[in-house]
């Protein structure tokens, strides 16, 4: 691989790569606002300027500048080298690039940083971006001086509603055009553009439009400053109190890698945002996925319920188990959930196969929905492929067949993971089910017909593995502690098994995983940790 020198370090690069790309890959951050690895090069912020030595024998391109000599009370002509944006300039073999090591670069970055803050309101206390704002970070790293312009800054529109999800503040905007380029290049909807010119520039909507495509929250996420804020997150939290879990989005079968931001103090989830993975979601997530985190706190089943009455967990567990004590295995149906992890479903399968002795395995999940060519999959379940992979002897039968069988009176007992209904029209068939026990995190459509509800964790409260539509198995980390009496589903299943009198020994997730190990369910053992990266 050819290399170039960046501040005395040899950086390998691939032909056609820019300096910033190669440096980024080598883990060196050349400061930037407008550059984003997933978007076209705009080179407009000028923060990534670097000094490149001319090829041997060629003179450096020099520019005339002036320095004021206060002692002599006169200007002294000076020369400075022409700098180049690292985001635009292609790396070349043997090239010598100075970044941190050049006083010219330092001065240029200081100047750009000062200029970006010149008309900025510096309203950090009331800005949602505070704590993760490039303007703050780079002020400290590259400027560190007082504002010299003492006059009133330029005023521009504030709190402009771009659409149902995004609010824009033109005064905070540094016109890097990341949001515009995202809409143009990734979302494929040129709904944003600039108007005016010079320091009156602002981002505007196309006439007659709203920012209402399926990836609007990404515009906020790519915004390096606080110009775009998400309606959902505005004024809800200070980011420095939030911690991030490396999760996998459970909104659909794509399995976008994400960070789930939560406050450890109140154990609440505040935000779901993309985590870079070139093989799955690159740098992006859809609105549906980013907002799906709210389900962690909505419509939950947090206590055991018997016949609609809340009951103390252990008693509920016993009562639910009692319903199954005399069940005929052939008339017992087991329902897996494509919403749940491999570990949860594996536990369910083990309970069915090894203890209950039922081969009547079905799979349920959330009903299908919209899809696109970007990320969104019509299958709104994160682990349909994982569930199928776990069922090595015979594939699980679809939910609709269970409904038909119930209507025909074939089953007296149903033990289901989750309370969803892949086919909402078939829910009525469960009305007459004599013994319906649901191990569920949410009060889904089946919950109304359940004889017993036992509280399970959402994906945010448990570690788990999900196999996406392309067969990549990905681990999702627990963010918050289980709410209410809920348990990770595999644990709840084990507890239910013990209540049935079986010797379920699993108490730790690793016990489940050890039992799963030889299972070929997951085709690719993806290392979620290796895929995590700092946001670009």
């Amino acid at each position: 691989m050819p290399t170039f020198k960046l501040d005395e370090r040899e950086i390998p690069f691939e032909k056609g790569e820019t300096i910033i790309q190669a440096a980024h890959r080598a883990g060196i951050d050349i400061p930037h606002y407008c550059w984003h690895p997933g978007l076209s090069v705009a080179a407009n912020c000028r923060m990534c300027l670097v000094e490149i030595e001319p090829p041997p024998g060629r003179p450096a391109m020099m520019l005339d500048v002036l320095e004021w000599d206060a002692d002599a009370q006169d200007y002294v002509p000076q020369k400075k080298p022409k700098l180049q944006p690292a985001c635009q300039f292609q790396a070349g073999e043997g090239m010598v690039v100075h970044s941190e090591g050049s006083k010219n670069v330092k001065e240029a970055r200081r100047a750009v940083q000062e200029m970006l803050l010149l008309n900025h309101p510096v309203d950090c206390p009331i800005c949602d971006q505070a704590g993760e704002c490039r303007l703050q970070d780079y002020w400290l790293e590259h400027q560190g001086s007082k504002k010299r312009m003492k006059d009133e800054p330029v005023h521009k529109p504030k709190a402009v509603v771009f659409g149902p999800t995004i609010v824009y503040d033109a005064e905070r905007c540094i016109v890097c055009t990341r949001c515009i380029r995202f809409c143009d290049e990734v979302a494929g909807d040129s709904v944003l553009d600039l108007r005016e010119r010079g320091n009156l520039n602002e981002v505007v909507l196309a006439p007659g439009r709203e920012l209402d495509h399926d990836y609007t929250l990404m515009t906020e996420y790519v915004c390096p400053v606080g110009a775009l804020t998400a309606v959902d997150f505005r004024f809800k939290a200070r980011v420095w109190f939030l911690r991030s879990a490396r999760t996998v989005c459970v909104g659909c079968a794509t399995g976008c890698n994400a960070f789930l931001d939560f406050d450890p103090r109140d154990q609440k989830v505040y935000r779901h945002r993309p985590r870079e993975n070139p093989d799955v979601n690159k740098y992006w997530m859809c609105d549906e996925g980013m907002l799906s985190y709210s389900r962690v706190h909505e419509n939950r089943v947090l206590r055991a319920e018997i016949d609609g009455q809340t009951i103390e967990f252990e008693r509920g567990l016993k009562k639910a188990a009692k319903l199954f004590k005399s069940a005929d295995p052939d008339r017992t149906a087991i329902v897996l959930s494509a919403q749940h992890s491999n570990e949860d479903n594996f536990a369910m399968l083990v309970l069915a196969r090894d203890y209950i002795g039922s081969g009547n395995v079905f799979v349920n999940g959330r009903p299908g929905g919209d899809s696109d060519e970007i990320l969104r999959d019509a299958d709104k379940n994160p682990n349909a492929r994982g569930v199928v992979g776990l069922c090595t002897s015979a594939p699980p039968a679809p939910f609709k067949e269970l409904a038909t069988a119930l209507a025909a009176g074939k089953f007296t007992h149903v033990l289901a993971l989750g309370s969803d209904a892949s086919d909402p029209d078939e829910v009525a068939a469960f009305e007459d089910c004599e013994n319906l026990v649901l191990l569920t995190s949410h009060r889904g459509p089946l919950a109304a017909h359940a004889d017993a509800l036992l509280p399970a964790c959402t994906w945010a409260e448990a570690d788990g593995t999900f196999v996406n539509r392309t067969g990549i198995a990905q681990e999702s980390e627990r963010a918050i502690f289980p709410h209410g009496d809920s348990l990770p589903a595999w644990k709840l299943i084990a507890a239910f098994g013990r209540a049935l009198g079986h010797s379920f020994g699993w108490t730790k997730l690793r016990h489940v995983r050890a039992a799963m190990a030889p299972d070929p369910g997951a085709e690719v053992a993806a290392d979620a940790e290796a895929q995590s990266g700092a946001p670009a």
């Binding site: 080179a43 000028r46 500048v65 200007y75 970006l116 553009d193 600039l194 010119r197 010079g198 320091n199």
Partner: protein, 448 residues
Amino acid sequence: MLKRTDYLTKNYGKPDGWKLAAYEAAGGYRSARKALGMSKDAVIDEAKKAHVRGRGGAGFDCGVKWSFMPKESTKPHYLVINADEGEPGTFKDRTIMEQNPHSLIEGCIIGCYAIGAHACYIYVRDELHLSKERLWGAIAEAKAKGHLGARPFGKDYAVEIYVHTGAGAYICGEETALLNSLEGRRGEPRLKPPFPAQYGAFGCPSTVNNVETIAIMPTVFEIGGDAFSKLSELHGINDGGCRLFGVSGHVKNPGIFEAAVGLTLRELIFDLGGGVLDDRAIIGVIPGGSSCPIHKPDEIVDVAGDPRFEPYNGKSVLDLPLGVDTFRGIGSMLGTACAIVLSDAADPVLAYHNVMRFYRHESCGQCTPCREGMGWIERILDKIVAGTGTIEELDQLSDIANSVMGNTICAFGEGAAQPALAFVRRYRKELEDYVHNGGKNQTGTLTT
């Protein structure tokens, strides 16, 4: 040395002088006919011999620029004419379009042929209504006569010319912003590379030439490239032929004058411009459009170690021939060779304010240093002119301009930083007078 020529201007001011009949009576369209009978390489070679340095301000050799176009290409090629003349003090191209439009049309035919283009877009500044009308008229006349269209002069090389109305911004005179604007996009400069010769109009190989650069091409092919180049006193340093010089500001006879390259500022101001209004003293001259540094008349040429400057060292800058490399050599810029003269009746601080206000207004705002730097400079000058500026702020002017210089996407940054630095360097005392005394020792006016 003053040597008047009239290749471009012979029909200026004559009744119907802009019409085809007058143009052909003076020998028009013979060059295009001749060029279309030559090989493309021969046309480019002839243009190279003429050493026509780009008349739009950058001074790049036209023949060399044509030679950058790819020889083999699967995409169409385009010739684009930059007629977005908007540089303050510059008003030469409009005289060509208004009074000698056929020279531009003929030049376009030659240029199209040289670069392998069959279509030419003339991007005309919107405000130049008469220019557009005369160009449309000239195109219609040339087409009717068969000089333009499917078979110009019966030759099998189709050429179509389209006049495109500009969308009204100084930045659209920057060649890549012009291309964006031409395509219906926001008029912002593109990143280079790729250069227009690889990726120009509509993503196809294109050459962007100034109006005058192309309009002089019929003359080049009329008298021959080498003979044309030798009209110039600076032929030896590859700055050939004749060009339009302009002079405005405080002169008795402002206007556009055609002369051989080699003319000095002194000749332009006194011999062609008729001298300074009221015979006052000059306090400053901007050689070619407001982007160029302003010079004081007492500045002496002093370029050590360059034999080209031996004849001029020790002379006043007013006696240095107006050439691309002569002015570049003294750290200045020839620009469009349309000089602006300030007499001592004018207040240089107000002139500075005026120029910088223009650049603040016209910065496209795409990149940070120019967008914010221009606004900051204007703001400081607003205060200085109002008598509320401080020395601290005056000191910041050079600092800001230094930070804009060279750090921007396009040459606007340099074009704005150069005058910002040149004025503050030469008129610091006057600026300080505004800071300390509210400018009471200055004239307080821009007019005589």
